[in-house]
């Protein structure tokens, strides 16, 4: 596995900050909890900012009665939206378990809410890619 300045990667795993985890686990954690990947790599400030931004976007989206879109047969675009929705990680799981995110189509803020929810998910997926880039040494 490639090496970078801030992290050391080897056949056993990735060591950054206080964590020594295999890269797939690190990426999975990064997806599951927004900002956790950066925190485990020792980027505390960025981790805090990323977590705050993603959580804020997600909460605002729910408050605006947006929908956590899941794949629907006959609607190809719903598959793309579902990728972004699931990209929210644990926020998506918890919201679904609590019965939130069904969306109110008739609400004036419905589409705005969707926009916030999808944006938050896409940002979290970008964070996973960023963690990967840091681990392989493409980025400091």
């Amino acid at each position: 596995m490639p090496r970078c300045e801030a992290t050391v990667s080897d056949a056993q795993g990735v060591r950054g900050g206080r964590a020594a985890l295999p890269e797939p686990v690190l990426l999975a954690l990064s997806w599951l909890v927004p900002g956790l990947g950066h925190l485990l790599l020792g980027r505390r400030l960025r981790a805090a900012v990323f977590a705050a931004v993603v959580v804020a976007g997600f909460v605002i989206g729910l408050a605006l009665q947006g929908e956590l879109i899941l794949p629907q047969a006959g609607d190809p675009l719903s598959y793309l939206a579902a990728i972004a929705t699931v990209g929210n990680g644990i926020l998506f799981i918890v919201a679904k378990l609590l019965g939130l995110g069904d969306g109110v189509v008739t609400a004036a803020s419905y589409e705005y809410g969707n926009s916030f929810l999808l944006t938050a998910g896409m940002m979290n997926l970008l964070l996973v890619l960023d963690v990967h880039d840091i681990v392989v040494g493409r980025k400091e």
């Binding site: 990323f50 931004v53 976007g57 803020s109 926009s115 916030f116 944006t119 970008l126 964070l127």
Partner: protein
């Protein structure tokens, strides 16, 4: 208002994602925020003549 909030969130996110230096981050944040808000308003004006279905 919601547009401004979302633009702010996205601008902060990308400023911290792409830039390391604080001053550089601030400049980038302002640029992205302005581009998103002004771009959306400009697009809204351009779409104004298009009739609703």
């Amino acid at each position: 208002m919601l547009l401004v909030v979302q633009a702010a969130l996205i601008a902060v996110f990308f400023a911290f994602l792409w830039k390391r230096d604080a001053a550089e981050r601030l400049r980038y944040l302002i640029k992205v925020f302005a581009a998103l808000v002004l771009g959306a308003v400009a697009l809204g004006w351009l779409m104004f003549p298009i009739p609703r279905p």
